[in-house]
Symmetry: C2
Subunit: 876 residues, 2 copies
């Protein structure tokens, strides 16, 4: 039996269906399916993806059977359409399009109107009686074929497209502005000029033989599968290179042959809101590309019912049939040629997060899908859109740079380069974006005042990123392609210069930096959102906590469904302006007594912080991590600020400089921080633990139920933990009375995971700090990895950025091993994760699989983690 490489659709029988996506590609499978349903689909055929694979495995040749199969298929199409390919008397024109398993929009080639030559166009004119239309079709074909198949393109960036140049010259010669003002004769001349240009520049003639045209076009589509753009797209989207593309060859239909013609696109439900009504637009006497190009304004689909009532009725009926058939909202394309409706495409429609939730919940209510399916229909990324302001998709964007998406959201404002100015201008009611090389504690005020923060350096766990996420403020960090000149108060990016006061927009979800004011859309939570979250909570096993450092964040997170705090970073409290002075006093102190004096000033403030958080989280566990960053982070970086500090504290500048020098570290990430501070300066942790227990006692007196879980960071040896736990227990007895509490540790040092059994002898809980654990497992500094990580992902050396999605193979081994060894020593050990990965859906899935008790993530990721946890449970 010979292999079948060609599948017909829309002819007397259709040979494919929607289940054959792998073989026919998405487009081909759906065309066949629509034809099977009896819908009006222009006849055609699909050359399978297997031919593509064969083509690349056999030195770019085709299977020997292919030619015959294509010819027989053309004959079938001719029969159905009652036209003949290459026949001047009654010409059949074809489109040749790619069609992979998954949509790769714009990445591969298309040729339309194929099958024309000088003779056939004359036949077409005779048949249609519309020479201008016919020459326009012909002109478009030669241009597209010349570009796509023959490869006539500008030689360098400076040159204009050669075809467009000729077109412009023609319009100039005729003294007209629009293509549509050119006459049939003008277009005829252009065809000849196009062909002459091709012959001159490529030293090859434009092929007049329609079959030669067809095979060359098929070859061009297969060839585009390995085009640079397509390869890069697959790398980014994680599409295997060996899937290949199908080629769809289909009869052309035209929506631009007169006022009884039209073309349009539609969604079976509103893709922005999810509301259940037909949504779309159309143009009378136009081609599909006119709808896209925006040269004419399309009309809303509802208008079609007035203009073409029968067509509209038929179309509506088709949509009513398609959606239940596919059990999902459909995105369809159609053309009306001389009063006859043709369906050109159907596929599951893309939608906003809000629409995804609405549609899933509605469809479950309609009985179309189950609750479980509804939960699986919404991607966590779609949910993310709901939780932050977003840029209006419809607005144009002038992207000048791309950094790390450090804290989600959308922000627009005028550029300022220092925090003081940010505060002043914000106080005057202006919206500003704070642009800095990197931020430091002095910038807190400015960050708070700004709409968003853009930094040139630092990664997703840089000061800017962490603080911005804590504030729920949009931030793009590590945008290395911008060059800041503080002195001249400007930055440049991709050759563009942005001065102080210029408007920019930054997208903390994509990392994009745009010129001007891009309009934003505020988030809103529908009843459907609540319904869906309720379903998610029913299904999930993992608890979801939040990373929150303030009462405000705690409340936000609790409203988002957080079941406790998994990580309360106490150092952010140290950074705030009313306490940084005392912190610095402590650092400058000559001895323990001096440090204790400064710490005594801090304690009441910390106590108040904890009281607020305990109150906000009444009855829920609050994991408080003791001081983590190295002390030098609390000292000012720049000379002017150091001078100011010296003045404020009444000490000589040289003393401050000497302290900064003595605290300098080559690799602060690996330096004197975390419990290493707790061991060498026990008084710091003691103060913090006292503040925790005093706060717990105080709020309990007011009827609040505090559940502190004290977390020792950066433990690498059993003794670090047991020594500090002994201190906590001692303070608990002295201050905490009957307050119940747990003492546990971050597992963020590889050695701690390897020796988890020893540590769990004493530790009552583990929280995997997968940010640092990833840094150490890979030996990557998150703040510096921007120099090579994008390249690694692009080259496929790493499937994903391991800081965004947990590296399950490497870092995950340590999480699994740490959990197993920890529980081997203490079966009831509570285990969670509090890195950024706690809000990453695939990482949440991994945590579910490993058997963790909870994940903890930033407040705005809580619903995402709830959904991801439910999806993980459903996937089991």
């Amino acid at each position: 039996m010979t292999e079948k490489y060609v599948y017909l659709f829309g002819t007397s029988q259709s040979e494919g269906d929607k289940e054959m996506r792998n073989l026919l590609g998405g487009k081909g499978a759906n065309l066949a399916e629509m034809a099977q349903l009896g819908l009006p689909v222009p006849a055609g055929f699909t050359i399978t993806t297997e031919v593509c694979t064969y083509y690349y495995n056999h030195d770019q040749t085709y299977p020997s059977e292919l030619k015959d199969q294509v010819e027989r298929a053309i004959a079938e199409v001719e029969k159905t359409m009652d036209m003949r390919f290459g026949d001047a008397a009654n010409p059949l024109l074809l489109s040749v399009r790619s069609g992979a398993r998954v949509s790769m929009p714009g990445m591969m080639e298309t040729v339309l109107n194929l099958g024309l030559n000088d003779e056939i166009v004359q036949g077409l004119i005779d048949q249609s009686g519309d020479p201008r239309f016919c020459y326009d079709v012909y002109r478009r074909f030669v241009q597209m074929y010349g570009d796509v198949v023959m490869g006539l393109r500008p030689e360098d960036e400076k040159e204009a497209d050669p075809f467009e140049a000729l077109l412009d010259a023609k319009k100039h010669a005729r003294g007209v502005a629009l293509d549509s003002e050119l006459s049939a004769e003008d277009l005829r001349e252009l065809v000849a000029e196009f062909k002459a240009e091709i012959a001159k520049r490529l030293d090859r003639e434009f092929p007049e033989d329609p079959h030669e045209q067809l095979w060359n076009a098929i070859g061009a589509v297969f060839g585009s599968w390995q085009g640079q753009r397509a390869i890069r797209y697959r790398e980014i989207e994680g599409i295997p290179h060996d899937w290949g593309t199908a080629v769809n060859v289909q009869s052309m239909v035209y929506g631009n042959m007169g006022d009884d013609c039209a073309t349009g696109v539609a969604f079976t439900r509103n893709p922005s809101t999810g509301e259940k009504h037909l949504y779309g637009e159309f143009l009378i006497n136009a081609q599909g590309e006119d709808v896209v190009a925006g040269t004419r304004t399309p009309e809303p689909l509802s208008e079609l019912s007035g203009q073409m009532p029968q067509v509209y009725e038929q179309f509506q009926a088709i949509c009513d049939q398609l959606e239940p058939h596919y059990r999902d909202m459909q995105d369809v394309e159609f053309t009306v040629q001389k009063g006859k409706l043709w369906m050109l495409q159907t596929r599951n429609g893309k939608r906003t997060g809000a629409a995804a939730v609405q549609i899933a919940v509605d469809m479950a209510a309609e009985g179309l899908i189950s609750q479980e399916e509804a939960l699986l229909r919404v991607t966590p990324d779609q949910l993310d859109q709901l939780l932050h302001p977003t840029f209006d998709d419809a607005s144009p964007k002038d992207v000048i740079a791309e950094g790390l998406p450090a804290s989600p959201g959308a922000a627009t404002g005028q550029v300022v380069f220092n925090s003081a100015e940010a505060e002043t201008q914000a106080a005057e009611g202006q919206q500003v974006i704070l642009v800095r090389q990197e931020t430091s504690p002095e910038d807190i005020g400015g960050m708070d005042a700004a709409q968003g923060i853009l930094t040139a350096r630092g990664g997703a766990s840089s000061h800017a990123a962490l603080v911005a996420r804590g504030m729920g403020k949009c931030c793009v960090a590590g945008c290395e392609s911008i060059a800041i000149d503080y002195h001249q108060e400007l930055f440049t990016a991709n050759g563009k210069t942005v001065k102080k006061g210029d408007w920019i927009s930054i997208d903390g979800s994509s990392g994009q930096v745009m010129l001007g004011q891009v309009p934003t859309v505020e988030p809103s939570f529908s009843a459907s959102f609540d319904t869906m979250m309720g379903w998610a909570d029913d299904k999930r096993r993992l608890a979801v906590r939040t990373n929150a450092d303030t009462p405000h964040d705690s409340e936000v997170a609790r409203n988002f469904g957080a079941e406790g705090i998994g990580l309360c970073r106490t150092e952010h409290m140290f950074f705030e302006s009313d306490r940084i002075v005392a912190v610095r006093e402590m650092i400058l102190a000559a001895d323990e007594a001096g440090r204790r004096q400064a710490l005594a000033k801090l304690k009441p403030i910390q106590r108040l912080d904890f009281e607020g958080i305990f109150t906000a989280m009444n009855g829920l566990p609050v994991t408080i991590r003791l001081l983590d960053p190295p002390l030098h982070e609390f000292l000012p970086h720049e000379p002017a600020q150091q001078e100011q500090m010296a003045e404020e504290m009444g000490v000589p500048l040289s003393q401050i400089e000497a302290k900064i020098t003595s605290l300098h570290e080559f690799n602060p990430m690996l330096g004197h921080r975390g419990c290493r501070l707790g061991i060498t300066y026990p008084e710091i942790y003691e103060m913090q633990v006292e503040a925790i227990f005093e706060a717990a006692v105080n709020v309990r007196a007011k009827g609040v139920n505090p559940l502190p879980e004290i977390m020792i960071p950066l433990v690498g040896t059993e003794r670090e933990f047991s020594d500090l736990k002994a201190m906590v227990d001692r303070v608990a007895v002295a201050v905490g009375g009957t307050i119940e509490y747990l003492v546990g540790t971050m597992i963020e040092i590889p050695r701690a995971a390897l020796l988890a059994d020893q540590i769990a002898e004493q530790a009552e809980f583990f929280s995997f700090g997968t940010n640092d654990l990833t840094q150490l497992t890979f030996g990557y500094s998150r703040d510096d990895a921007g120099k090579f990580l994008p390249e690694y992902v692009a080259q496929g050396i790493l499937a994903d950025d391991p800081f965004q999605s947990l590296d399950q193979e490497g870092t995950g081994q340590l999480v699994r091993l740490g959990t197993e060894r920890g529980r081997s020593a203490r079966p009831q050990l509570k285990v969670g994760i509090c890195g950024e990965h706690g809000g990453d859906p695939s990482s949440v899935g991994f945590c579910h699989e490993v058997g963790l008790d909870y994940v903890s993530c930033s407040p705005y990721r809580v619903p995402i983690a709830r959904l991801a946890a439910a999806q993980a449970a459903l996937a089991e």
Copy 2:
């Protein structure tokens, strides 16, 4: 049966022997052993270490049986010595000394001449007829007892010792300068004044009852086991706190009762050279402390034969008996009282490295010990002494600071603060020590010119340390207690100021920094050394390679017995002055073409380097690590140097500044380095691999047999390795012809150890880079850990500095697991270690146990590794 707490020695029978060290302490066991051998030991008894344990477990009380046992023991001693304790008519005086299982010199208390009071001293005078001697003994007793047992000490640092103050006052009053010029009457008065001072200041009377004196002294010795100094010493030396000390109570004998008296110390062989002859010194009419104090110059022991021929003969006979008995060189103390020889102590003698080797080899030749025992008799540290110049032990040292022992050796020179000056002065024939905050590539010339390098910052893998070790040059790094003022050209340490031109001495083996010129001793290699190394090579299973970057180092290492190069760091070649310009050109290049142009200049130089190394290592494997450090390390740090670079390269300063800014990293250790450079700038590694193969081809043409093993550093994923191996294989085909080679990787990233099976699919060898692996397993920056690591070791949180001795529990798990997983995928995988641990004896033992194929260490550690490997094999 009652417990036995007291063991007699030197009486009618001796109850202990040398095997009872744990119970009787080293001193007590050996006193008993000598007595068992029939040697003249002043009678006495030992209170066991169990009493010490009991004492601390029972609230500082004694077992009830103890009092009786001590009293009976005193009676036995009285009988033997024919004197009575507390009897004025014929008084027995006692010494009370500590004696732990291992010697803790000076850490615990001693009381001599115990058993005197006003009445008994009179009896002693009547008996001896020498009132001055008797009052001197009495004076010394009251002073020592008042200090040690009663605790009369200066109240603060400013006050002088109260007893010494009275002594000085007395001398002043009598108008004399020396203690010995005071009369018996003066001393009698002093005793009274001492007692009055005690009563006044402590509000307690000096006890006149000898038994009360004895029990208090015993209590003071037990008490000193938990003294601060002793605890600290045990922590440093790793001696368990629960061992406890024994107390030795022994009859006093006197070497200062006239010219028929003497005291001395001796070694049975020369402790400096190992030569076989009695070696020691003595003083006529003196006490032991006079020998130590240096107030009188002792005579060589050989002189004793003329002055006391019979005593000398007896003493020599005793030594000839002791050494074969103990099967080791003995360190003995003796006293001659009125013509009678008394043996006070024997123990295995401390010796220099040279002596240790000589003695072990000689004793094996004499048939006293086996070859295996001889190998175990020399510690690797002793061997280390042989391999570098050392400071003369006999010279006084004024230590003003202590840093990290970064590169062993001893160096003396005049301080200079910049490299240019170091070069100038060295050219003028001066010896200089280069003192820098830290060093950078610009300092290479100065480092080479200097005798040694001292840095205030940076750890044992800092630039200074690595380069110095490569040069075999003495270096003390990270000496944080020195404060350098470049401007004034001075540094301060512990309140002392050292200016440019002042002489200092630095000890790269201990980290000590000393004022002035301390004389050094050059290393020398005896025939015995070669003999011992030959024995070691017969016994060991581990191969020993070296870390060497130059032909010179390679030769040195080969002469030390290296069996190949385990780590050749190519970046050190980049730093040298004739190539740094091309390296910088490459870094500044705008694109790949520019980089290739600069690399083309480097290639012939690298090729020459490799030719030299292959030639030096003819027939032995040479593991070459491709470029490892981040590129910014090759750019100058300081503005002046940046300006100079701009001038030399003819580019604007701003361009250099911009490049430095763009290459800046927060955590360079975790940054854009190692194979991450090889992936993002493939042309760099390509050039290096071409240079390797070209060099191999060239030297083979000259009859040399090159065995290159190309090592990809910092691999964390399988793809990094396989992509770069493909490049190496490609270049090998193009350039290397039939040269045989291996491609392997450093395992220094935890993830690589975890995924070693994947990596070993392609890798032909692993070399554990335990420096970086330790950094990442612990999350410690070696350059910064000086801020807390010493504290961690002091507190016992870590048993050892994990950068000096491999952390077998944590990092070692990854070494073991990486080896097992690697070999599971490739059973013939060659596995070695090339971190600093390759030269650390206990780490070498671990490598043997895990089954590695080789260790690699710096040239000067090669013999140590050979010995350690043999000792590990013998320990099996």
